[in-house]
């Protein structure tokens, strides 16, 4: 059952077409974001592991991705690393695996990965501390909050 779902995610992302050219790593914004950027957390590394059938759901490296679509745009085979990582994350949050997802304080849905949020917090370190209270909410809840307060 779980293997079937995993296989479906992999096929939907089209990772079996990967030619390991590494263009996705060249455009990946994670290289600018994390100092400890390595092959293990790069899209190419994750796809390689997925092809080898390794256990990715319990891997912390899938939680660094920002879910941008830069890799798919340049991929000659149309492999969508975003869809792969999104599917893996959904399986991790649904199951009992170590899910490093950040849950919205209002609607209790996961909306961002913890390392990505840490990066955003670190970038905004000059801001007053009450900005982080707003960052606890997911974007749609933030907009709803503005609707309720200001309209």
């Amino acid at each position: 059952m779980k293997e079937d779902a995993l296989l479906e995610i992999k096929q939907h992302a089209g990772i079996y077409g990967c030619v390991e050219c590494g263009r996705c790593v060249a455009v990946c914004p994670m290289a600018d974001m994390y100092v400890n950027f390595s092959i293990a957390m790069s899209p190419r590394g994750i796809i390689k592991k997925a092809l080898a059938g390794e256990d990715l759901i319990h891997d912390r490296n899938i939680w660094y991705c920002t879910e941008c679509n830069a890799g798919t745009d340049v991929c000659p085979q149309g492999v969508s690393c975003r869809d792969l990582i999104r599917g893996l994350r959904e399986m991790a949050t649904a199951g009992d695996a170590m899910a490093e997802a950040k849950y919205c304080a209002c609607c209790r849905k996961p909306f961002i990965a913890v390392p990505v949020e840490e990066f955003v917090f670190a970038r905004l370190h000059n801001e007053p501390s009450n900005v982080f209270k707003i960052l606890e909410l997911c974007p749609s809840c933030r907009r709803e909050l503005y609707l309720v307060r200001n309209a």
Binding site: S38, I134, P139, R142, R143, L147, V148
Partner: protein, 454 residues
Amino acid sequence: MTTYHTRFNGVRKHTTMSEPAREQTTVITLDELRPRAEEKKSFSEYFMPPRHPCILFDPQKCTGCGTCEMVCSERNVSKIAPLSASVKVLQDDREGKNFAILCQHCRHPLCLEACPTRAIEKGEDGIVRINKLFCVECGLCTMACPEAAPLRDEKTGGINKCDLCEGEPLCVQHCPENALTFTRGKAFRWIKGLRWTVQAISFLLLVIVFLGTFCYFKVGAVTLACPTGLLQNIASSRTIVLVGASSALALLILTVLAGRVFCGWVCPFGFILDLVGGIIPKKIGWPSFLKSRMIKYGVLAGAVGGSAALGFQAFCTICPIGSLCRSYGVQGVFRGAELAIVPTLASLEIAQRRAWCRYFCPVGAVLGLMANLGLIKIVIGANRCKKFSCQQCADVCPVGIIDRGLLREGVSPKIPMTECIMCMRCVDRCPYGAAKIRFRWQKGVPGIPGETRV
């Protein structure tokens, strides 16, 4: 290198560096590749601030029709597709409320800080744009924005953000109810010049021209006295002099009518503090155990109690306003140690603006108690200003009573008139006329200035 690098130092790996077989590669960071534009403030900007354009939204006029979304999406993707618009209209059907999420073009954009590829730029004209060449559509700008104004297109996955149509916004032109207003804000600030003039004149009069000064002076039949001095006088002599009481009443009545105008516009020591505070850079922080504004009431109680115990006006001997009037100026009574009081207390400005007035001044404490009963108040209509993205009122407030946290959440901050020194800097500075003086019993918030179409 900024600090976010150091946060990850614990798990830092140098795979390329540590392997001896490979050559050492030079790593070019994004800072070197696309350096951030430095903020330059030209000399003329001190008098004439740049008038950056923005769109103001009036929620009471909005009907939630979504015309703005349609015209915006037509500009973005050349078809009517509200999902691809840079503006989002939210509807609350239960309460009949509508709200448009728009980019506010912040003074210090958080999205610009958070963007990992540095695709977001703030132009010279104040418009915050996403450079599509560098954008990878990761959505971190949406995560960093307090209003989540950069919108993710759910169909295509792209990020759309308002660029004000390069100065001629279509949504403003097509809004049927005029709920959206394109404005550049007001240009001229006349209160600033008026206040400095009044302060300088009153400084001249109180310190240099009139002998005997602010604490107690007499011109013909008119006598004026300092209310705090009077309190100490009563406490020390245990008698009430009616002439003195009525003369102290003049300042109190003025405070009830117009707030602590004395502190902001007349006080000669406040003038010195404003001058010094404008020049001295804020180097050190104010210690947190002294951050209570209640201290000044303690000082007042101590002054009155001290005079009752000692038999003379205890605080008046070290009062900076009094010592400024007595020992400086043409009358030339340079009185030794008293000279040191004003520079010592003025040096508190290195930590915070008007630190003495905020935390210690007992004269301000008496006036603050009266201003609390006062007739007027200052309101800031956060409903119709740029809220978190501007915060100029909080920047200029010398006593720091405008709550940035509330502004960031989009709520009108309530201004305690006990602390407000009525300098009217916020009224002067607000480009959109949201900060206004109102009577105490008036309700509602100021509207948008200049209800004109583009």
